[in-house]
């Protein structure tokens, strides 16, 4: 999901001017100058601030309690939802429209029956992506049925279909505007970039505030989350269209419309499909998470099961999610890579004949299903895995959780991790004077970017303080830092191995492929099974989620190091380790920094979700706010998440500014 977006970013990062500028900023006198300047500013301001407000956690005098006004606002909205014209004639209509659309798709899916849906999905996959993906689709839908998840799967599909359609339309329109107008692009780009780094949870509260908990809120949150990649890639594709071709088209007298329809859009097909792919994957990810605001379907099953630590049921609903993700990703990705290929095979297997065949077979499947009056998956073909899984987990709990000789148990590890790493980190962060935190954040961001980056980062941090959630945010931050450290250590190690040996690479590639398609939410299931609930499992889920992207980016960066430079080093007699340390790592620096940035962003997303399995902190506040109808608490936490996301992105994103200038 996130990886494809980063691949394009990476191309921008890898340009050598940016690298040089960064190199200078980190090592040269410019970096030192910035630090000195910051130190001077600090020397003036800190004593004043410290004497006035003290040096502990964020001073109470500087906080603003928003719960009153926010609570009032939310009450006002609830009271007026049925009467105020804004709701009656605008939000009301949107909400109605969403409900009707989702309902319609859902009824259609049910009417097609399990035979029809399975046939249609497999045949579609066959047409677009070939036989292998078609068989995967067939097997996947069968498994959904066997696990007894047919109806929730259809609910999730219906919700996604509506959300994806809306996201694609909204994203494509925004992308079109940005692709055709430089000014719109400049205005839109920072917004899209920022949305890309915000955790899914940040989007939930505002839509709930307006639409209340339910399907409309879930769909709209999904649209907001999933539309940016479509917009981004549409704009990118339109802007990067080959100028020579466009000029030739103009020279033949094409009108602006003809130019767009016959040249620009077709030239951007690959990007459009990539955008579609990313939008679908993001939509699935969000549609599952949105179960906390009433999305229903598979996500809801997982959510309910996890809240009672019923790992078996969670797994039964989690497997279909993963399968759906894999099928959708492979299908849309294949559509992208197959562009421009000549059709091959017998005549009936492509063109309109093939589509007619697809329609005919689907119709036959529907008819067969109806004739056998079997619309939802037959109960006798179901297998209940919840009980066996739960007994397996029970066995694990009693045998592997603790007391295993020598290595200890998983719960022991989690406990140790919490006691020895998370707790000290959290108390350390909380004990840091608030101004010191601001200074560190500013220094990091400034070293790596411009004064503007530093200001954004520091202000984001200050806003967290002002909102009055300083210490909870420090808790979240401590989990993020711990998870990032583990992710990077593991990720770099694996990446180095993968970059040096083709065999290792071939071994881990399929694993990474699957891991990268899995929605965030699903990662919570195995960690709860392994470690129970708590902060350590949240961190473990975050590590598992961020690891694939970090490995991939790093390995790619290491492998792309100029072979000539390596050759030269080898000819000078450098050993393997020397090559790695002195040539590969320095040259792959941009990729490594990008990996850090991505790692941080992805880790944050899951650490926040970890609030649902005992991770506490900001994520818990959001869930709590939603569950208790205390929107003020949730909204404040959501805002803090946004600020934390912004801050973490800015202190780890070296190239954004330089790359921006180059474009």
């Amino acid at each position: 999901m996130a990886s494809s977006a980063t691949a394009t970013d990476m191309a921008a990062t890898a340009t050598s001017p940016a690298r040089n500028a960064l190199w200078r900023a980190l090592t040269g006198r410019r970096g030192l100058g910035k630090l000195l300047l910051l130190a001077m500013i600090a020397a003036v301001l800190v004593p004043f601030a410290a004497s006035r407000w003290g040096s502990g956690a964020w001073p109470g005098a500087l906080t603003v309690d928003l719960s009153g006004p926010l609570g009032q606002a939310s009450n006002w909205i609830i009271d007026n939802r049925d009467t105020h014209p804004l709701f009656l004639y605008f939000f009301g209509w949107i909400s109605e429209g969403v409900i009707v659309a989702v309902r319609a798709v859902y009824l259609l899916l049910l009417a097609l029956g399990w035979t029809g849906v399975t046939a249609a999905a497999s045949l579609l996959a066959w047409r677009v992506a070939g036989l292998r993906v078609a068989l995967t689709a067939l097997a996947s839908f069968a498994v959904c049925g066997v696990l007894g998840m047919w109806v929730p799967t259809m609910q999730t599909l219906a919700l996604m279909a509506a959300a994806v359609a809306a996201s694609v339309v909204v994203g494509a329109l925004l992308g079109l505007a940005a692709g055709l107008s430089e000014r719109t692009y400049r205005a839109l780009r920072p917004v899209l970039d920022t949305m890309q780094v915000l955790p899914a949870f940040a989007y939930l509260l505002p839509v709930v505030l307006i639409f209340g908990i339910g399907v409309p809120a879930a769909v709209l949150a999904t649209v907001v989350y999933a539309a940016p990649p479509m917009a981004r890639l549409t704009a990118l594709g339109l802007r990067d269209a080959d100028h020579g071709v466009l000029e030739a088209v103009t020279s033949l007298g094409a009108t602006a419309r003809q130019r767009l329809l016959t040249a620009r859009l077709p030239l951007a097909r690959r990007e459009l499909l990539l955008g579609f792919n990313q939008t679908i994957m993001m939509a699935l990810s969000m549609a599952v998470i949105a179960s906390v605001i009433g999305a229903g379907g598979l996500g809801d099953r997982v959510y309910q099961a996890l809240s009672t630590v019923d790992v078996g049921s969670a797994l039964a609903a989690g497997i279909p999610i993963v399968l759906l993700a894999v099928v959708m990703d492979r299908t849309t990705a294949a559509a992208g890579t197959r562009i421009g290929e000549e059709p091959s095979g017998p005549r009936w297997s492509y063109g309109w004949q093939a589509w007619a065949g697809v329609a005919a077979v689907t119709a036959a499947a529907v008819a067969a299903g109806r004739a056998a009056s079997s619309l939802t998956w037959p109960g006798s073909w179901m297998v209940t895995i919840a009980a066996p899984v739960n007994s397996a987990v029970g066995w694990m709990t009693s045998h592997l959780y603790s007391g295993v000789p020598v290595i200890g148990g998983t719960a022991d590890w989690a406990g140790h991790f919490t006691t020895w790493i998370l707790d000290p980190l959290r108390s350390g962060l909380t004990a840091l004077p608030w101004w010191a935190v601001l200074l560190i954040v500013a220094a990091l961001a400034w070293l790596i970017g411009t004064w503007r980056t530093a200001l954004t980062a520091a202000v984001s941090m200050a806003v967290i303080g002002v909102l009055g959630v300083w210490s909870i945010s420090m808790d979240t931050l401590s989990q993020v830092l711990a998870a990032v450290a583990v992710t990077l250590a593991l990720g770099f190690a694996v990446a180095v191995a993968a970059a040096r040996s083709r065999r290792v690479e071939a071994l881990i590639r399929p694993v990474l492929d699957v891991l990268q398609t899995m929605p965030q939410f699903v990662y919570l299931i195995p960690v709860v099974a392994l470690f129970g609930a708590g902060r350590a499992p949240a961190v473990a889920a975050a590590v598992a989620y961020a690891l694939p992207a970090v490995i991939r980016i790093t390995a790619q960066g290491l492998r792309q190091v100029d072979p000539a430079a390596l050759e030269a080093a080898r000819s000078l007699g450098a050993s393997g380790a020397q090559q790695l340390r002195q040539v590969q790592l320095p040259l792959a620096r941009p990729a490594l920094l990008l990996a850090v940035n991505q790692g941080v962003v992805l880790v944050l997303a899951v650490v926040i979700i970890g609030g649902m399995v005992g991770g506490g902190a900001l994520g818990y506040n959001v869930v709590y706010g939603l569950a208790q109808g205390d929107l003020a608490t949730g909204l404040v936490a959501g805002a803090a998440i946004v600020c934390l996301g912004l801050m973490l992105d800015r202190v780890t994103q070296p190239s954004s500014d330089q790359a921006g200038k180059e474009r």
Partner: protein, 348 residues
Amino acid sequence: MSAPVFSVHNLWKVFGPKAKADRVPGSDAADLTADQLRKNTGCTVAVRDVSFDVLAGEVFVVMGLSGSGKSTLVRCLTRLIEPTAGEIAIDGEDVRSMDRARLRDLRRHRASMVFQHFGLLPHRTVLDNVAYGLEIQGAGKAQRRARAAEMVEKVGLAGLEGRRPGQLSGGQQQRVGLARALAVDPEVLLFDEPFSALDPLIRRDMQEEVVRLHHDEGRTMVFITHDLGEALRIGDRIALMRDGRIVQCGTPEEIVGSPADDYVRDFVRDVPREQVLTVRRAMRPADAGEADAGPALAPSTLVSDAIEAVARTGGPARVVDGGRCLGVVDHERLLAVVAGLPLTGAAA
């Protein structure tokens, strides 16, 4: 010959912020060096006070080194690049004052362009690429396909109609580009270094193709190149550009035979002059008695051919036009041409 198709007067193109660029033509700033101008105003002068006529039916070649403003000049003709100052007329009609519809009409029917990097639509087949110009004019599918098939045949790509540009070699792609330009039956063909991305051998092929096309159809062509050999081979007249200015404009023979300045002289130094210059330029007035004896040559005979005739007979050859003797060429004159010595006392 005939009336000019394109008539260009005092054309300027200055790249840069519009307000500043508009003020450069004719001002003192125009005389600064490129670097200084860029430093002072942020502008680049690509075409500088250029005037020329392209006559109906001729191949007009614009030649110059990289960066001399050739591409910019040819794009100004159909306003793919908006000129900064000056006049352009096509068949007497002012191009710069055309509104959008007129301009589109000009591009659709009167002047088509062939590009260095082909500019083909990668998602369309060869046939659909060739038919593209007709398609955007609104021609019916059957009609445009028939016409496109004809053009594909004409440029020698028959059998490859169903391929996509990515599956063709560079030379084949450029043939598609050529067919696409020809399909709309334009009055003028504009070429912007069409063959410089091709291998020398293929380039030679394509040049012959263009010569043949011109011979068959007599279509007016404006041909941009940085290759002197190519210019001499296909050009009826050549304009030589340097730093946005035309430094000399004339027939290949005039350019090679009497370079306007040292720059041009340098440019044409390595040209095999005997293969460009004709005896009209090499001859001297006939001395008494010479006007009646010796082999007769037409004035357009190349010096290289005259050498053969003179060597065979051993004496001077006469240059005869319509029965009248214009002058003679002898060993001395012919050797002077080959050696690149100045020719003194040329006949009228």
